[in-house]
């Protein structure tokens, strides 16, 4: 493009705000003055100036300045005169009582006292102490009264005034000491330095305003054909808008659910409030297991109804009954199994599912992504409620290799290519294993959950016969914390609107 064309196309791109500002730049170089001349507010003017700066038409310079403003009293004195002048004006050649003078001058006692002090220093009055203080004006005072006070002259300026531009610094210091007369504020001023291009733009006739918006009317009437449309600066930043979003945890849950659905698993759902029977006893967790103690589990002041099956479970705990197990020994207590609690794991759903399953339903696979609760105080790495990813495979042919297979598949889809199993212990699985995945970023193994094959003491009473049941309960919070790089896990349920609006979506 020719230089002239570039110049022309630049003119076409000018925003109405820029058009309003440009002609003012010849006479003015400071933001507030430009704004005033262009009849815009300062924010609009500033936006226009920044755009022009982007176009290379000018440079913006910020300058810090000390500005002097009138204080509360300053404004009053400017209008009605300095208190010392009013005081002086109330005096006469004869000694009069101070109180009379104060009344006459309409000053407050505080102001009058100050005025008196000032005038005395200047020999503008005489004092005499009798029963009360008496004052009269002097010759000096009379002369002063006939002239304009320097303070008054000072106040007549157009405020704010730049500190630097004030010549009589002594007077300024005196005035600054007086109560709420003047105040100094530091202000940043924006100044414009035009470039050659800017000067040309400011001087050139920008011509008629080019069309900003295409309107339905133009389309209807065909007038758009005669219009020239302003070219936009497409690189410029625009104000943010926000759309609706699902919660990030929900996004991850939906993805995880799809993985299990694709792998042929049916979803299990159920109550958060459960009996100890279903949450613990049906899973062969011994009644004296440390995890059942108060500090780990939220209990409610309720008593659960038990299914008939509880008697079988009792015997399994005590003697093993028909499971060929020894059982835990000791006495199984009904009041313990009737306790009501917030479910401590989603495995309670697996227990209930097994209890409803028939032989002809096999093989069957189930999953759940559900909330579980632990009685913990909130801190940056602990929540008292969190999601667990549960799964069971009820298949007479299932084995430990399959368990590793399912979990490896799952974690591959979650973005972790390597899965490791380590021996672990849970009362309801045998073998029990801990599942680690390799974190490619951190180059280390991270622990994500437990798994195993349900013990016969769990399966036989619930299902009615023995069958390998692969089972796992994996954590979700850690995966989410990793994905969104959360330093404080409480952010997950903080519901900060800014975070909710700006968090990236789950891109798996």
């Amino acid at each position: 493009m020719e230089t002239a064309d570039i110049f022309q196309s630049l003119i076409l791109k000018l925003h109405p705000l820029e058009r309003a500002v440009l002609p003012q730049l010849i006479a003015h170089d400071e933001l507030s003055k430009i704004a005033k001349a262009a009849k815009l507010d300062e924010t609009e003017t500033m936006r226009a100036l920044q755009w022009l700066e982007n176009k290379g038409a000018l440079h913006l310079q910020k300058q810090k300045k000390q500005l002097i403003f009138l204080g509360k009293n300053g404004t009053i004195y400017k209008k009605s005169g300095m208190p010392e002048k009013l005081f002086l004006g109330a005096l006469s050649d004869e000694f009069k009582g101070v109180n009379v003078i104060i009344k006459k001058s309409k000053l407050s006692r505080e102001e009058a006292t100050a005025a008196l002090g000032i005038l005395r220093k200047k020999n503008a009055l005489d004092l005499k102490k009798e029963q009360e203080l008496l004052v009269k004006i002097t010759l000096v005072g009379k002369t002063m009264l006939s002239e304009q006070f320097p303070e008054e002259k000072f106040l007549q300026q157009n405020f704010p005034v730049e500190l630097e531009k004030i010549e009589n610094k002594i007077l300024l210091d005196l005035l600054l000491k007086r109560k709420e007369l003047l105040k100094v504020e530091e202000k940043t001023e924006t100044h414009v330095a035009l470039t050659d291009l800017g000067r040309q733009l400011a001087e050139v006739d920008l011509g008629a305003e080019v069309t900003n918006r295409l309107t339905p009317k133009m389309l209807k009437e065909g007038s758009w054909k005669k219009q020239q449309f302003r070219a936009y600066d497409v690189e410029v930043n625009v104000p943010a808008i926000y759309g609706g979003r699902k919660h990030i945890e929900q996004q991850a849950i939906e993805y995880i659910k799809r993985i299990w659905l694709d792998l042929g698993f049916k979803e299990m759902t159920g109550n958060y409030v459960q009996s100890a029977f279903w949450d613990l006893d049906a899973l062969f967790v011994p009644q004296d297991h440390p995890a059942r103690e108060m500090q780990d589990t939220f209990y409610l002041n309720k008593k659960a109804q038990l299914p008939e099956m509880w008697k079988t479970i009792k015997k399994v705990h005590e003697t093993g009954e028909e499971t060929e197990s020894k059982g835990w020994g000791g006495e199984f207590k009904k009041e313990e199994t009737e306790q009501v609690l917030l479910r401590t794991h989603t495995t309670v759903l697996s227990a209930r599912t097994l209890a409803n399953l028939k032989k002809e339903d096999l093989p069957a696979k189930f999953f759940a992504v559900g909330k579980v609760f632990r009685n913990e105080a909130l801190d940056w790495k602990h929540l008292f409620e969190f999601y667990q990813i549960e799964g069971i495979v009820v298949d007479p042919q299932a084995n430990l290799q399959n368990l590793k297979g399912y979990l490896t598949q799952f974690y591959k889809k979650m973005g972790y290519s390597k899965v490791r199993m380590r021996p672990a212990h849970f009362p309801y699985t045998e073998p029990s294993l801990e599942v680690d995945v390799f974190h490619p970023g951190k180059q280390q193994w991270i622990e994500l959950g437990g798994a195993g094959i349900f013990r016969p003491e769990v399966v036989i009473p619930l299902l009615g016969f023995d069958c390998p049941v692969l089972a796992w309960g994996q954590g979700l919070a850690r995966i989410i914390g990793e994905y969104w790089n959360m330093q404080d896990i409480r952010d997950l349920y903080k519901n900060d609107v800014k975070q909710l609006r700006e968090w990236k979506v789950f891109l798996r």
Binding site: Y242, K257, N271, V419
Partner: protein
């Protein structure tokens, strides 16, 4: 879970082999113990609760040595007869079982004594379930006169000097004056008499489940012979504990001697280290693991876990507490085989995936609200009762409290609205409009429910900006029901959280599906919210049920 600390040099001596550090770390975690760290010649390991026999340096080294193939198979321990006797009185009904042993030819150092005391304490915590199921005592043999009596007595009538005390006190004062007495007092609730070990010269040896006595003294560096008693509520549990102790001492070089424990109805000899035999079905093992192990291989793997094997039966060491069923062998065989050596395999089994119908429905509702530019929030299910009632200007008596919550969140929420108002109050510094929704579980007391609590899935929404009003809430609710193809009506109701005359319930026929309204300024004040807010709460489970009929 308990953690033990091992001296690396001592440990290697006991194991009989020194492994390179990385291999040592790897092997420890693949044995079924959680390695915490190795530093300053100390190994810190977490022991899972099913293997209390590994809670001592000797026990852990024994298992590890077999696992890495140094000393495999069942360990043989010789038990000699001491000819001494312990008499169990029928009065000890509160803690009826004891098993005792003597170990001679020991060499103690202060270090070792400390280790043993640690193992003793950790065993009492785990295997003994904090002394509830069993507790243990170890005494220098020389000051005990046999036969020893295990008997219950009225503590007000027994005087003795607890270990660490400089004077005698009444046994009934132990619960007040002795730290263990204070700590374990809850275990003895309702006891009128307490079990004591008393020797033939009427010296009190200990008061259970609290403390030993000064009379019999404590084990010191010059002790070479000890008497061990384990007492509790379950005979197998106390015997297994005793077996853990005597094998631990034997691994230190001690010689085990048995005693006759004379119960009112029978006499048993303890310890009895004869291994328990249990049938092991080769095909069962292979099926569970997905392997084709031969009998020989199974034998070798069992031996690597310290078991013996012969004629289709595994020989279980007397100190193992965790073998309830043959499935427990399966795990040990898997550990010996190496969890890392199992292949990943997805079987060729056709099953059909199926999402829960309500969940599918809720996803659709979420999509509708996202389409309306709402942000989804997720709040805790637990709140304070102040948030649920007082701030909402309500007095609901169906709010369910928790019995033992540690934090201030100690009630189950009965509505989603309070959480949403809380969200608004915490987001005042962010741009408006703020349109939030939540789909979640709420809880109310209900005496007919299985647990006494009824749970429902609800949907709630809030619209907050300078000009939010009832119309906007109603428009939003209309969008939802139109999208669901349902026709609903709104009827004016009273609701203490809303401005009178600006709140209605959403109904279909007789069925109330929820409500919507402008939040009462008092409620907004309570929540410290400074813009007008409209709310709606809808029972989505009910809506779903209606749609299915």
């Amino acid at each position: 879970m308990p953690t033990i600390t091992l001296n690396k040099n001592e440990f290697e001596k006991l194991v009989g082999k020194e492994l390179p550090l990385e291999e040592l770390k790897d092997r420890i975690s693949m044995l079924g113990t959680d390695l915490e760290k190795i530093e300053n010649n100390e190994i810190h390991v977490e022991i899972f609760p099913n293997r209390p026999d590994m809670l001592s340096e000797q026990g852990f080294a024994r298992a590890f040595s077999s696992f890495i193939g140094v000393k495999t198979g069942l360990r043989q321990y010789e038990v000699k007869k001491s000819g001494l006797k312990v008499i169990v009185d029928s009065s000890v009904t509160m803690r009826p079982y004891t098993a005792c042993a003597i170990v001679k030819n020991l060499q103690f150092t202060d270090e070792r004594i400390k280790e043993i005391m640690q193992a003793q304490e950790k065993l009492a915590t785990t295997h003994g379930r904090n002394r509830k199921k069993s507790a243990y005592g170890i005494y220098p043999l020389k000051s005990i006169n046999f036969p020893v009596k295990y008997t219950a007595k009225d503590p007000a009538k027994v005087m003795f000097q607890p270990l660490g005390f400089t004077y005698k006190i009444k046994a009934s004062e132990v619960e007040e004056l002795h730290p263990a007495g204070r700590k374990y007092k809850p275990l003895t609730e309702g006891w009128k008499e307490y079990p004591f070990f008393i020797d033939s010269k009427e010296n009190v040896m200990c008061m259970l489940p609290y403390t030993n006595s000064h009379d019999t003294g404590k084990v010191s560096a010059d002790t070479t012979e000890v008497f061990i008693e384990c007492t509790g509520t379950d005979l197998i549990n106390v015997q297994t504990a005793l077996h853990m102790f005597v094998t631990l001492f034997a691994d230190m070089g001690g010689e085990i001697y048995s005693l006759e424990v004379q119960y009112p109805d029978k006499t048993i000899t303890t310890p009895d280290l004869t291994p328990r035999r249990k049938k092991i079905d080769l095909s069962y093992v292979n099926k569970r693991l997905g392997l084709q192990l031969t009998e020989k291989e199974v034998q070798q793997l069992l031996e690597r876990m310290g078991f013996g094997y012969g004629a289709g039966e595994a020989l279980i060491p007397a100190y193992r507490a965790d073998i309830l069923h043959q499935v427990d062998f399966v795990e040990d065989i898997a550990i010996a085989y190496g969890y890392e050596n199992f292949k990943e395999e997805i079987p060729n089994v056709a099953t059909i995936g199926e999402e829960a119908a309500l969940e599918t429905f809720l996803t659709k509702i979420r999509d509708i609200f996202v389409g309306l530019s709402f942000l989804e929030v997720k709040n805790y299910h637990l709140m304070t009762v102040e948030d649920l009632n007082i701030k909402m200007n309500l007095q609901m008596d169906t709010v369910v409290p928790l019995r033992n919550a540690l934090g201030e969140h100690n009630h189950l929420r009965n509505s989603l609205v309070p959480s949403l108002l809380k969200n608004l109050s915490e987001n005042q510094h962010h741009e408006y409009p703020q349109s939030l929704f939540e789909i979640g579980r709420v809880f109310t007391s209900h005496k007919d429910a299985e647990t006494g609590v009824e749970e429902k899935e609800k949907l709630a929404l809030v619209l907050a900006h300078e000009k939010s009003d009832f119309t906007e809430a109603k428009q939003t609710v209309d969008v939802l029901f139109k999208a669901l193809g349902m026709k609903v009506n709104v009827k004016e109701i009273d609701h203490r959280s809303c401005i009178p005359g600006r709140v209605g319930e959403i109904v279909v026929g007789e069925e109330v599906l929820g409500f919507l309204g402008e939040v009462h300024p008092q409620v907004l004040n309570n929540w410290n919210v400074e813009v007008p807010v409209v709310i709606a709460e809808i029972e989505v489970e009910k809506v779903f049920a209606l749609l299915r009929t």
